[in-house]
């Protein structure tokens, strides 16, 4: 199996107002194989979200080396990073981060526009992605007309529309009830079976047992990586309130 993510000695230091320095990541090493489905867990403030953002090229490490599919990210320009985020990575935010005044379809089509896909093809792909997450009947709705679970699925559809090989999800079930959460996990299971690499930050042990591995983070470093025994396999039915 080939390595898709290879992080070595990653540090992320935030300077707060008043000059106080916070080490969110403190020389973290991590290797993720292609196609792996892993949960990232750790107490709050352990740096798990920061790690996910750096792995998703949304932020850059203060120190250390991060190779994505063999490419050293530090060597890339801002615009090349934009390209990588667009082509290879699907990022699912805990807060959904949808454009409030745009329809579900427009939201999902957005990354395709930045890829240069023609309008017709864009609509087709966006529709496909929305159908996939069971929102065929909600395409014209704006986020404020959607439930939390529906918004999360729009966000997932947006991440899927570009057909990325890496999916990064920050607490994707954090704001959802358990039934809706299970549906989302069922969707992830499907995506995993398609061979995508999935990393998911969560603080719920139960959610993490759906993954193959649990990466435990503490104080900005990887504490240990556990194999999940008795892995749960949620099934996506498309029946989400």
């Amino acid at each position: 199996m080939s390595t898709v993510i290879e992080a070595k000695g990653i540090k992320k230091i935030y300077t707060l107002e008043g000059g106080l320095k916070v080490h969110a990541l403190n020389g973290l090493d991590l290797v993720v194989e292609n196609g792996q489905y892993a949960a990232i867990m750790g107490p709050s403030g352990s740096g798990k979200s920061t790690l996910l953002q750096i792995l998703g090229c949304l932020d850059t490490p203060s120190e250390g080396s991060y190779k994505l599919a063999g490419q050293e990210v530090a060597d890339l320009t801002e615009d090349e990073l934009s390209g990588i985020r667009n082509q290879r990575i699907g990022f699912i935010f805990q807060a959904y981060n949808l454009l409030g005044r745009s329809t579900a379809l427009q939201n999902v089509a957005l990354p395709l526009m930045y890829r240069g896909t023609k309008a017709k093809e864009r609509t087709r792909l966006a529709k496909e992605a929305l159908e996939r997450v069971g929102l065929a009947d909600r395409m014209g709705h704006q986020p404020n007309q959607l439930s939390g679970g529906q918004k999360q699925r729009v966000a997932i559809a947006r991440a899927l529309a570009t057909d990325p090989d890496i999916l990064l999800a920050d607490e994707p079930t954090g704001n959802l009830d358990s039934k809706t959460g299970d549906e989302i996990l069922g969707l992830f299971q499907e995506l995993h079976e398609e061979g995508r690499t999935i990393l998911m930050v969560t603080h719920e042990e139960e959610v993490a047992t759906h993954c193959q591995k649990i990466i435990r983070i503490r104080d900005g470093v990887v504490e240990r990586i556990e194999e999940v025994k008795d892995r749960q396999m949620a099934v996506f039915t498309g029946d989400i309130p």
């Binding site: 932020d59 667009n86 981060n97 240069g116």
Partner: protein, 393 residues
Amino acid sequence: MFLENVRTALNALFSNRMRSLLTLLGVVIGVFAVTTTISMGAIATAGITGELEDFGSQKIIVFTPRDKPLAPNFSDDDIEALSRLPLIVQKTQDAAGFAKYDDKEIQISLSGTSADTADTKIASGRMYNNQDEVYASNVIVLTQDAVNNLFDKDVDPLGKEISLTIANSRTSFTVIGIEEKSGGLLGVGTGDGGTIPLSSFYSVVPYAKKGEYGYLPMQVDLDANVDDLVAQVKSILERRREKDSFSVNTIKGILDTFGTITKILQTILGGIGAVSLLVGGIGILNIMLVSVTERTREIGLRKALGAKKNVIMQQFMIEAIVLTVIGGIIGVIVSIASLYLIVAVVPFLDKVIISPMVILMAFGVSVVTGIVFGVWPASRAASLSPIEALRFE
């Protein structure tokens, strides 16, 4: 990609109608305020001085100096002496009184001018003639202002009898004509006034001194050499009167003394224009800055989804151009409309002056300010890492 971005920009503008309208309003008000204030300045200046410059420069007026109250008035002999020159000396005297029609009474400045020397321009009706002068007919030519104030709108003043009260003596006069009104606050034919034959003036104004004139207005041919004539008038009067007991002025000369006033006026109005330009610019700056800064998260999200910095900049540039150009055009249109309205309503303003320079300047400053302060915060936001921009509160 550019066309896609135009679509994205228009989409963003349309889907946030309230924000777009407010921004648009900011630009409209900015452009409107600047165009209107500066144009108003030009229109008001023209309203004050315009008439004098247009028609009045070919007139010579002889006064007794203000600092010599005991200097004798001018006499018929003086006029006789001046008549050798190629000019017409007006025999005219002034008095103040009251005019009454029905139950309306107004204060009126009355002037008696002999029919053969009067140069009153008539808008409707007729001017009194030499016969009226000989018979001292009780006929009067009123200014348009006096007509407006004395008669109801639906009444035709011509042929109506009004009563004039001067120094407690009342006489009936027939309105035979309405004087043409020329523009300008200082122009002729404005204010509540009436002109009657000089002989009638003598008979109705008890204190009128026959053959004595406080000042002598002289009509000069338009192609005459005014400076030359002024010198000749001076030399004739110097032989007849004490030195320094009179002063010879041209309307142009009077205008020059007004020049200082209008220059101050223009400076003040220019200052107001500059301030309104600044205020308008800051208003636009403010609303652009706020509305774009507010969208830092959106910019972060677009970047997170793969938008390159230039693409984002382009989108905000297009949005700013669309808003400021549309706002600018609306502002100019509203401004021109209100200038026409103001000129129609304010009596002494009669000409709408809109300088293309003013419009270009107001438009240019607003559009440039709008674009700079629409794009600059977007550029700042697009330079942040997506996660920083997304975290922006």
